[in-house]
Symmetry: C2
Subunit: 76 residues, 2 copies
DNA sequence: CGTGTAAGGAATTCTGACACG
DNA sequence: CGTGTAAGGAATTCTGACACG
């Protein structure tokens, strides 16, 4: 469904989540999110990705590390 | 709801609708769609806008003019 | 009228790196 | 480890205009 369509760029994801672009890109580096890319290389996120990003940040605030989150996300 | 969140840029709207950016901007010029703008002036569309844009193009193909479409859209 | 295009500038995003702790 | 930042380049978007019919 539509919530999985990756059509939102990082600037808006940053606004919607309140996180910095740096944080969002880092979560991808840690294999926690997988945005699409335009032909030019620009990242495209879905509303579902945005939800995941917010969950990730919450978990990090709770003290978890990205490696642990990767396992948690795998089992959902 | 989410379908009204204006978070999609014109390039993606163009891909999703198959229309050119020129056409999409023209529909705005004709007061048929009302995208938001980023601080820098970049247009942001919602999924609802995308649907409207496709409807507009269909109507234009059917022979209607933008002025008539403005009235039609007003009554919906 | 609705759309194509070339033009120049501005906003946005990208990567790799150094920094901190 | 997770995040901030300055750096330079590349991709994307913007506006106003000329063109066609």
């Amino acid at each position: 469904m539509m919530t999985k369509k990756k059509v939102i760029q990082i600037g808006i994801v940053s606004e919607l989540t309140g996180l910095t672009e740096r944080q969002i890109r880092y979560y991808e580096d840690r294999k926690l999110i997988f945005p699409d890319r335009s032909k030019g290389g620009v990242r495209k996120y879905s509303f579902e990705d945005i939800q995941t990003i917010m969950d990730i940040h919450t978990k990090l605030t709770d003290g978890f590390h990205t490696v642990e989150l990767r396992r948690m996300l795998a089992g959902s």
